[in-house]
Every structure is written in C-alpha cells, then in structure tokens.
C-alpha cells in the first residue's frame, strides 16, 4: 500500500502536550496590592465595628433567643425546635448556628450569656459578607474605591451595626445571597458556577424565606451572565435546580412528617388546624398577617420610629443610589447589567418591606442591598475620573460621617454638650439581662414553673442550676402542648413570670390573657431593674396561698 511518508506519525517526538486552544475565561481581575490592602482594611473595620462592645449592645432580642433555643434543640434534642415546630421559618439558619456552637468548646456557655456565642458567629458572617461585597462591587464596577466605599457604609452604618450584631436569620440569609452574587460575578462560564450561585440562593431561601423577593434581581443577573454562552441551557437549568433543591427538601421534610398540608385541606385562618401543624397553612397565615392582629408593625411606623432614627443618611443615600442605578441601567441597558441587577435586588426587597407586616429587624437585609447600589453608582460616576481624585473623594466620603456627631462613631450626650462614643460602642445594655438571670439562679428554685421571654431561655436551660420548667410566654399562650398540657391555662401552675423589656406590650398585643391575669391579679414583683427606657422584672405568682 502506498504511503506518502511512512514515518510521519511514528517518528515524531512523544509529546504529551495538548494542541494550543485559546479560550477566554474571565474570573475577575485579581486584586493588586492596593486592592488587597483596602480589602483587608475593610474586613478589619467590619470586625471592629461589629465586634466592639458586641456582648453588651444591643439588648438581647427575643428573636435572638428563639434562634438560639432552636439551635439548642438541634444540638441537645436532635429536633428543630424545643416546642412544636410549626414552620414559622425554614430551619437552615439555626442549623448553621447549631453547627457553629457544636464546634466551640464549652458550647453555649463558652462566652458567658448563651446568645453571645451566636453573636460571635454574626461578626464572622459580617466579615465574610464584607469580603463578598467588596469583591462583588469591584468585579461589577471594576473600581476598588467603589468597593471600599460600599463596604465602609456596610461596616459603620448604625443601622447595620445595630441589627447585624444580632443573632438573626436575616443576617445569615444575607451571607448566602452575597455568596451567590459573588459566585455569579466570577463570570467564568462554567455550569458549576451557575449551580453554586443557585445553591447559595436556595440556602438563602431556606434560611429566611423573604429572600424570595430578591429573585428578580438575582435571576436577571444570572440570565445576563449566561445568555451568550454555549452552555446556557445547562447553566440556567442547573441554577434553578440548585435553587429548588433545598426548598424541595424542606417541603419534603414537611411531607414526611405529614405536616405539609393542613388536615382536611382547611386553610381557614379563623380556626387554625388542631390536630397537626402545616407548612402550607403557616405560609398562608403569614401572607395574611396584619398589624392590627398584633403580629407586626407597618413599614411607615418602623421607618419613622426606628430606622430613620438609627441612620437616615444611609437610607436616603441608598434609596437615591438605587434610583440612580436603575435610571442609568435603563438608559444604557447593555453596558450597565450589574446596576440593573442590584437595583432590582433592592427594589424587590423594598417592595417586600412596604407590602408586609414587619418586625424592626426586617430592615437588616436592605442595608447591604443599598450599599451595593451605592458602590456601583459611585463606581459608575467616577469611572472616568483621575484615580487620585477618586481616592481623595472616597476618603472624604468615609471621613465625613465619622467626624459628624450623628451616631456613626460619636454622638452628643443627652445634654448636647459632650461628645461620646456612639451607643453601639459604649452602652452596656445586656448587663441588665445578665443580672436578671443571675438573680433567678440565686433566688428561684430550679424546679419552679417559669414563664419567660425567649432571650434568656437557653441561659436558664444551660446554666447552673438549670430550669427545665422555664417556658416561653409565646408558647405558654399559644402552643397547646405548653398552654393546655403543662400550665393547663391556669395561673395556679405558674410560679414566676420573668418580664423582659416590653414583654408586657407583647403579652397585651398577642392577647395572652391568662398570663396577664396571673401577673395582674396574683403576681408580686420581687426583682426589678430600670435603666433608661429598659425595664426588666421578676414577678412571683402567689399560687400557694390561694
């Protein structure tokens, strides 16, 4: 057989190298030295601003206590909650907290009051969020000063510091959302990248369901990042699949427990299901919550009475930035994809806040979304400016809020004559709760039947002595297992009521009538502390003499 060159194949060197194929694979420009320093500084600022005085301020919130007690239940009882779990929230958040506590020697008691160990996790989560936000803004805006500015406000805003120190599902949800955005911002064209972003968003959903309102922004950013890729079908499908998987497992859990649907498919809000709890019923109930029902507060009330008071500058600047990014991105859609995405994120969450019945801390996720928009808009505005001018402007913008006594770093005292460190870095509010627990341990017999607020629940269960019959007032009022089987809805079966700050308001708002009867008609205040507008007390119920 004729051969043109018999040795052409076999005489060539035994090269193992591949043929050169040029494939563009952007994964974001690596940080230069200055960028690394600024990132480290941002994370350090976050560590200090959130960590300083964290065990003393703010007051331990009931909701912090609820998540800690549910994490306690995961670790100590292998259950999702110490009481009947009625699907008020998806459980991934406190499972993460439980995992964190399990890693720490001494666990709940390792740092004094049990909520403290949760707060340390929140600081670490915040520092991680700073890293993620810095990189998201930098990759999307290609501006390190913009990334620094965004994280600066994220770090020092009193609104951020106040709520992000708390052990809240919202803070964990923000971490997963930012992680998802960070992965998306890699833009490396891989299917697993899209899948990772989707999984992060799915975990955000099973940490706090209100992440659902971020779906339009998230979905848009995903769509634009894959629309021109050859693997877009796989990327999009696996993103959705990864988002849906944790949610599906959550629903499956409910189904396995026969708690997905209410008995007889009865969604009547006037008569909650009596035989078993139901995930879909709870969702239905949450969608129909009203402020008048004592289940929360309206947006306007919280905005004016709490959020604007804490940091009106961030809220105004962030809102303006969101409007700005939206306007710019709609004008130049192709060039400003990330800005439209982050605008949609903030608008989506803002829509949720304005349309729902809220608790004070629901604003926490809005803060990073606003600072994202501030960062991207700043990057866009300064895109063509000289680097030195941008650096100077950034430094001025950061220095301004710190130097003015409006609560970022310093504030006037109540006389208006003396500058003090801002409350969040100075006030020792939680000392009162520590004193309350200390008094209970010293004066109340451990086998007493106590009605308490959730903030001290784990402290009384884990401390020495522990109080196995201390029950949450929410459960004493609404959980049939506690109200009817433990207390028999009878004040004779209560020994003490431990009042947290504003617990009286909650008892009245929630119509916890039989507990109020115990306090008002048969109670005797045996311990009390008042500091500013914080009032704590312990009320002994005189049930033996009747």
């Amino acid at each position: 057989m004729p051969r043109e060159n018999p040795t052409a194949l076999l005489d060539q060197e035994q090269g193992r190298g591949s043929a050169p194929v040029a494939v563009h694979r952007p994964v974001g420009d690596p940080l230069d030295r200055t960028g690394k320093i600024l990132l480290a500084v941002s994370m350090l600022i976050g560590l200090v601003s959130h960590g300083w005085n964290i065990f003393k301020y703010p007051l331990y919130l009931s909701d912090e206590g609820i998540y800690m007690e549910q994490a306690w239940s995961v670790l100590r009882e292998g259950k999702l909650a110490p009481y009947t779990y009625f699907y008020d929230h998806a459980p991934f958040g406190w499972m993460v907290i439980a995992g964190w506590v399990a890693l720490i020697p001494g666990q709940f008691n390792s740092l004094g009051f049990p909520v403290n160990i949760g707060r340390v996790l929140m600081v670490l989560v915040h520092v991680a969020c700073v890293f993620l936000m810095f990189e998201i803004v930098r990759r999307y805006s290609r501006s390190v000063p913009a990334a620094f500015l965004a994280t600066f406000f994220f770090n020092v805003s009193p609104l951020a510091v106040y709520f992000q120190r708390m052990v809240l599902l919202d803070n964990l949800m923000v971490f997963w959302v930012l992680l998802g955005l960070y992965i998306l911002a890699r833009k490396d064209g891989r299917v697993v990248t899209a899948m990772g972003a989707g999984l992060a968003f799915g975990l955000a959903l099973v940490t706090k369901e209100n992440a659902l309102f971020l779906l339009p922004g998230f979905g848009y950013l995903l769509h634009r990042s894959i629309v021109e890729q050859g693997n877009r079908r796989f990327s999009a499908s696996f993103w959705w699949f990864a988002v849906g998987s944790p949610v599906a497992l959550y629903m499956l859990y409910a189904e396995i427990k026969n708690e997905l649907l209410p008995a007889g498919l009865d969604f009547n809000l006037a008569s909650p299901p009596a035989d078993h709890v139901s995930l879909l019923y709870t969702i239905w109930w949450q969608l129909h919550r009203t402020a008048s029902g004592g289940q929360g507060t309206m947006f306007n009330t919280l905005l004016h009475q709490s959020w604007l008071f804490k940091d009106k500058y961030l809220l105004l600047a962030g809102t303006a930035a969101t409007v700005g990014t939206l306007a710019l991105s709609l004008n130049e859609r192709r060039r400003e994809v990330p800005m439209l995405g982050t605008a949609l994120l903030a608008i989506g969450y803002g829509f949720y806040l304005t349309r729902s019945v809220l608790l004070d801390f629901y604003v926490a996720p809005l803060v990073p979304l606003l600072t994202l928009n501030i960062g991207l808009l700043y990057g866009r505005i300064t895109r063509y400016a000289k680097p030195a001018a941008v650096a100077l402007l950034t430094a001025c913008l950061c220095a301004m809020p710190l130097s003015y006594p409006h609560g970022y770093l310093v504030a006037w005292d109540f006389t208006g004559t003396k500058l003090l460190l801002a409350d969040q870095y100075r006030l020792p509010q939680t000392n009162m709760q520590n004193l309350q627990v200390k008094w209970i341990r010293e004066h109340v017999p451990p086998n007493s039947r106590l009605i308490i607020d959730d903030d001290i629940w784990v402290a009384l269960r884990e401390g020495h002595p522990n109080f196995p019959y201390a029950q949450s007032h929410f459960k004493a009022a609404s959980d049939p297992d506690i109200r009817d089987k433990f207390f028999h809805r009878d004040w004779h079966n209560v020994d003490y009521v431990v009042m947290s700050n504003k617990m009286r308001d909650a008892l009245e708002r929630n119509n916890e009538g039989w507990i109020l009867e115990a306090i008002d008609q048969h109670g005797e205040e045996v311990w009390r502390i008042d500091r500013g507008d914080v009032h704590l007390s312990v009320i002994k119920i005189n049930n033996s003499s009747e």
Binding site: P6, A19, L249, Y253, I256
Partner: protein
C-alpha cells in the same frame, strides 16, 4: 436490627447520591469546562494527506447494510490510495461474504485495488478475533474500525490525519452518535446515552488517562497496535479493554466530538436486541475488571476512575435489586425523618439526571438540525424508570452469565434505521 437497617439505608443513600452526582458531572463535563469543549472540536484547517489508513469493517450477518458501509468508506474525501479497506467475516457467514465480495469486485473493476475481504474459519467467532485477523493483513500507518452499520463522514480520514500529524497522538477516538431518537420508547434514552458519553464523558476519561475506548471510529497507529498485541479475543468489550491497555502504556488518547463529523449509528431494533447488547457491554466491563489491566495504570486517580467505570455494571445490577426494596420500605418501614430525607437524596439526583437528559435532547436535536417535540420529552419522563429497570435487568443478566462462566458473543442486529432513504439511494449508486 432496626438500627442496622437504618444505617444500611443511610449508607446506600449516601453512596447512590455521590455516585449519581459524579455521573451527572461527567455527563456535563465538556459543557462545564469551556476549554474541554474547545479541545474536543475538530480543527478548522486540514493538514495535507500524510498518513495512510487501514479501515477494518468487521461484519457478521450484516447482509442488509454491508454494501452501503463499504461504499461509504471507499468514497471519502481522502486519497483512495491512502485508504485500505478490509472487510472481515467468519467463514460461516455466507450471506455477508457474498454481498461484501460483490461490492469489492465492483470497486476493483473501477480501479480500486486496496479493498479486500478477509475470511477466518478458526475460533472464536467474535469481533476481536476478526480484528486481529484483519490487523495481520493491514499495511496502513493508522488502523481504524468501522462497524457494518456505520455511516461515516467523508472527511473523517482527513480530520484524523490532521489531528495525528499536528498533535502527535497515536490514538484518536472520534465521535459516534446514535441518530434514531424517536424510533421507539427506549431509543431516545439510548441516543442520549451516546450523546453524553462521546460528547462529554469520554473527554473526561481521556484527560484523566483511563478511557474505555469505543468500538468504532477509533484510530490507532499500527505500530502501537502491534506493540500491545492487538485486541483481547476473550473479552466481550475488547474496545474498552484495549483503551485501558493503551493508557497503561502512557499513551494520550485524543477525543474528538464535533457533531458535524460524527459517525452515525442506530439503536438496536428491538428491546430484546437492546438487552442483549447491553448485557454484552456489562459483562465485558466485568471481564475487564476481573482481568485487572486497570491495576497497572500508573496513578491512583487513574486506577480509581478505571475501577469505578468498570464496576458500574455491578452497581447497576445492585440497583435493580435495591429499587424494589427501596419502594417496599418506603411503604412498609417507618424511619426517622432524617433517614427518610437522606433516602430521598438519590431521587433528587435522579431528577437532576432527568433535567440533564431533557437539555441533552434539545442540544442533540439542535446540533443535528432535528426537532425535539414535547412528545419526546413526555416519553423521557414516562420511560425514565422503565429504562433504568431495563438497564438494571441487563446488568443482572450479565452478572448471571459472568458468574456461570458463559462468555459467548450475543450479536446485535442492524437494519439501517439511521439512514435516510435518500442516503441509501446515494450509497447504493456509489456501490
């Protein structure tokens, strides 16, 4: 006892989840890795014809399709003098011999002298024996195999010549694709299996250095083939086995998948034939695993991947046993919520596989200018579990044959379902 059952359920669930996750990743590997996809593509520019080829066409009872196949191989875009064609049959296959001889005679009368028929009359009567018989008569620089039903692309020799010369590789596995995705309920699954295997997984295996090669459109340098002693005549999947031997020698295998140049094939015409084919493949993998060539691979990662690939039929057989048990326990056994949740993870992965298959269907049809209809998607959904059970049955059947020492070759019939009438006419005229 209950604790043991629960632990077993948890363990099996975790193992199945990991396995399904890994398999899923291999299915989408080239889509996930843009570099991999780019490398699997056929080069745009062709090198001048430099290498000579010997195309072996092993045939057994292929009277229906052999003439068209010979004609296709004979009429490629590569210089005819550089393409030797050897049709190889066993002496008892008179029908195929007659048809092949007629076509060869016509080609010779037209001046094409490098086409011949090799007939062997010794045992065993199987494909690897035929290949070795043909190898002894070959004189091309590169040896390749085309099955009798293959519809090869006219540029295939030119492409492989380019790749072998410019990239200095001695083994090239080009793409093979089943085409008749709507012939019957299982053909869609079968087509997609090929699609994911050649389009994605083989690239991963080649890159990892543990690749079970395909049975056709695979190209070896003749020197390499002679050095490793040809094909193993005792193995039912001689292609997979020789792939591992090539890897043991440290040879890099180049995988090419470009939908424009794939070799087109058909799914087995009946479920019975499909099960026979799948049984043969499963048993062949079992034989190759037992033979132990994979143990000679240089790195632990290669050995692990080869072992994992070859032992898959065992897992599939176990799955066939596990699935009914799992369904039964779902109704009978009350397990803690955490265990129940864990046992659902493989189901979640199964859903991911289904999603992947549907996307694969659209990718496949788009690439070949076909159309995926909602009906096909419904077929995928409805036929998913039955198809898994058929695969599990074939694996169990293979296991039974393997354990009882039965190792004969169960032939797969071909009817040319992947060839359009127009193509048949063209190739007939050419013949």
């Amino acid at each position: 006892m209950e604790q043991i059952v629960l632990a077993a359920i948890a363990l099996v669930s975790v193992v199945l989840t990991v396995q399904a996750g890994h398999t899923l990743y291999l299915m989408i590997y080239t889509w996930d890795q843009p570099e991999a996809e780019a490398k699997a593509r056929v080069p745009d520019e062709r090198a001048a014809p430099q290498l000579s080829f010997t195309a072996i066409v092993p045939a057994r009872h292929e009277e229906e399709v052999i003439q068209q196949t010979i004609a296709r191989v004979a009429h490629t875009d590569y210089p005819a003098r550089l393409v030797q064609i050897i049709v190889v049959c066993s002496a008892d296959d008179l029908g195929t011999i007659e048809r092949a001889a007629a076509t060869i005679s016509r080609l010779r009368s037209a001046g094409r002298t490098n086409v011949e028929l090799v007939v062997f009359d010794d045992q065993p009567i199987n494909k690897p024996h035929g290949l070795n018989a043909a190898l002894a008569r070959s004189d091309g620089d590169v040896i390749t195999i085309f099955d009798a039903e293959d519809e090869i692309h006219p540029e295939i020799f030119s492409i492989v010549n380019t790749v072998m010369v410019t990239e200095r590789v001695h083994v090239v596995q080009a793409g093979v694709q089943l085409m008749n995705y709507e012939s019957n309920w299982y053909s869609t699954f079968n087509v997609l299996e090929y699609f994911f295997w050649f389009r994605s997984r083989l690239y991963y295996q080649a890159r990892a250095g543990a690749i079970p090669l395909g049975g056709n459109t695979v190209f070896f340098s003749r020197e390499l083939l002679e050095r490793i002693g040809g094909w193993d005549e005792t193995c039912l999947t001689e292609d997979a086995e020789i792939g591992l031997r090539v890897c043991v020698m440290g040879e890099r295998v180049r995988v090419l998948y470009d939908h424009r140049y794939v070799t087109k094939e058909e799914t087995p015409p009946t479920l019975r034939h499909f099960i026979k084919q799948r049984t043969r493949w499963s048993q062949g993998f079992m034989q190759t695993l037992k033979k132990g060539t994979w143990k000679e691979l240089p790195t632990r990662k290669q050995r692990l991947l080869a072992w994992y690939t070859l032992m898959f039929p065992y897992a599939q057989a176990l799955l066939g046993i596990y699935l009914p048990v799992a369904v039964l326990t779902a109704f009978v056994l009350r397990v803690p919520a955490s265990i129940a949740l864990l046992s659902w993870l493989p189901v979640l992965l199964l859903a991911a596989h289904f999603v992947t298959a549907v996307i694969g269907l659209y990718e496949f049809t788009e690439a070949h200018e076909l159309r995926a209809t909602p009906r096909t998607v419904v077929t995928l959904a409805v036929g998913w579990m039955p198809y898994q059970m058929v695969l599990a049955y074939a694996a169990m059947r293979a296991l039974k044959r393997q354990l009882s020492g039965v190792g004969d070759w169960e032939k797969t019939a071909h009817v040319g379902a992947h060839r359009s009438a127009q193509e048949e006419e063209v190739t007939s005229r050419a013949a």
